[in-house]
Symmetry: C2
Subunit: 243 residues, 2 copies
DNA sequence: CGGCACATTGACTGTTCTCAAACGCGGTGG
DNA sequence: CCACCGCGTTTGAGAACAGTCAATGTGCCG
């Protein structure tokens, strides 16, 4: 594994307390008492774009919380092609299977420069037993993983290629920067179950129709209303975009 | 909900111990001691084909173990169409979300006459706290749900319609009876993300190529080797068979 | 500047969808 | 018992869509 680029050990309580994504993350609702049970280091990981967090089959001994960036979880097909099974956004939990399995079931790789916390499973198991709050959170995270898989299926593998690309753009849209950074065409293909050429053509077409406005390489400003319409999520009855 | 067709209460220990699917099911590895903690009835449910177990949004207060039959979990799309998100086979667990959520996230419906056990969440929560075996099983079941979702995506929503139908037939194949009971074409479409006409055409075509041998309405004997080849599961030559 | 990786475009082929019509089976009523 | 109906399935023809192969374009880096 090649994510040992940089890491530091840290006093858990203070650093977790001030973590920006804490309120969305696994340690969400832990009390200071809970943190006192953490007697192993939670490690900071920096994972540059295109680097692998783990491979399918790797020994699974940690759970990861994504603090920034974007991670793809991949299944390899018998023909050697890959299929992206779901994306994890900041606040998401990666590698829950460590709790029940010897090894990881996906290949996990950064689509953007990412920062994560690696939490040894011993920490989780301890807290799982002694903190009902974490225990609940763990179940919650599993639930979230299933829901996200299901949504990924209905959003990214259903309907025409056009609809799928539109949904992916909306999925990747960052409300803060009001822009959308799309992955390489190869990755888009693996996410949507289409070819790179089709992905490319549709994006070019969206640009011609001003649904995407070029800002810089692979970064676009979205016409949210227009794209929602293409995606078949009719703007009319969704009604939470205006202000 | 319309599955109150027939049910009986029962002495948990004895009946679970002798249950045919027990070794694949949630209560898999419970000891007699564990069963003594079960102070609420586990209910037997008979759910005839096409009947609904629960709807998305229904209050979630039980978990179900499927003892026989076949259940589809469905997401409704904004356009009113449905998409089958995964199938549950005997031994599988349905409605785990009850543990963490107020209401169900899927629509669950029988594709074949089915029998289930309904386990109140209070039972699970009690055991989850007091039996490390069940606790582990619950996590295992979540893991299984995620893996099955991921497999569903890569198997049933990837590749050509032909490949998908072949994979579905193999998925539904019953090794004991050496046959395969396929659902209506509508359901096949909702599972594979294709139209009913395409599903119908491909099945007709498989029959012409002796990949499916008609036994009775919607029941076929499979040419396992041939279908595996069509499904792209054999590393061998990506089958173009002329006739 | 050339080379490389990736993205775009074009022309063509093959697949899947759409709309519409015919078929076949099981059930009902004459 | 047979005629008829309803419903899901099958089939057909044409259009829309996506995949393939190949060429070209573009930006980045040494």
């Amino acid at each position: 594994m090649n994510h040992t680029a940089s890491y530091t050990f840290r006093p858990e309580l203070a650093r977790c307390r001030e973590c920006g994504v804490r309120k969305f993350a696994l340690f969400n609702n832990l009390t200071d008492e809970d943190f006192k049970l953490v007697h192993m280091p939670v490690e900071d990981i920096t994972l540059p774009k295109r680097n692998t967090l783990y491979n399918a089959g790797d020994q699974a001994q940690s759970i990861y919380t994504l603090r920034s960036g974007l991670i793809k979880l991949v299944h390899y097909l018998p023909d050697g092609n890959q299929r992206v099974v779901r994306l994890v956004k900041p606040g998401g939990t990666i590698g829950l299977e460590s709790l029940v399995s010897e090894c990881f079931t996906h290949h996990a790789e950064a689509l953007q420069d990412s920062k994560l916390c690696r939490i040894p499973i011993a920490v989780i198991e301890r807290l799982d037993n002694e903190s009902p709050r974490l225990h609940k959170q763990v179940l919650n995270r599993w639930h979230q993983a299933v829901m996200e898989s299901d949504n990924w299926l209905t959003q990214m593998s259903t309907g025409t290629a056009r609809e799928r690309v539109a949904r992916l753009c909306l999925f990747l849209h960052d409300d803060v920067t009001e822009s959308c950074t799309v992955p390489g065409r190869e990755d888009i293909g693996a996410m949507l179950g289409i070819t790179t050429e089709t992905a490319s053509r549709i994006i070019a077409d969206f640009r011609r129709h001003d649904l995407l406005e070029f800002k810089s390489r692979n970064v676009f400003k979205l016409d949210l209303v227009g794209l929602r319409e293409v995606a078949g999520m009719d703007a009319a009855d969704e009604g939470n975009y205006a202000d």
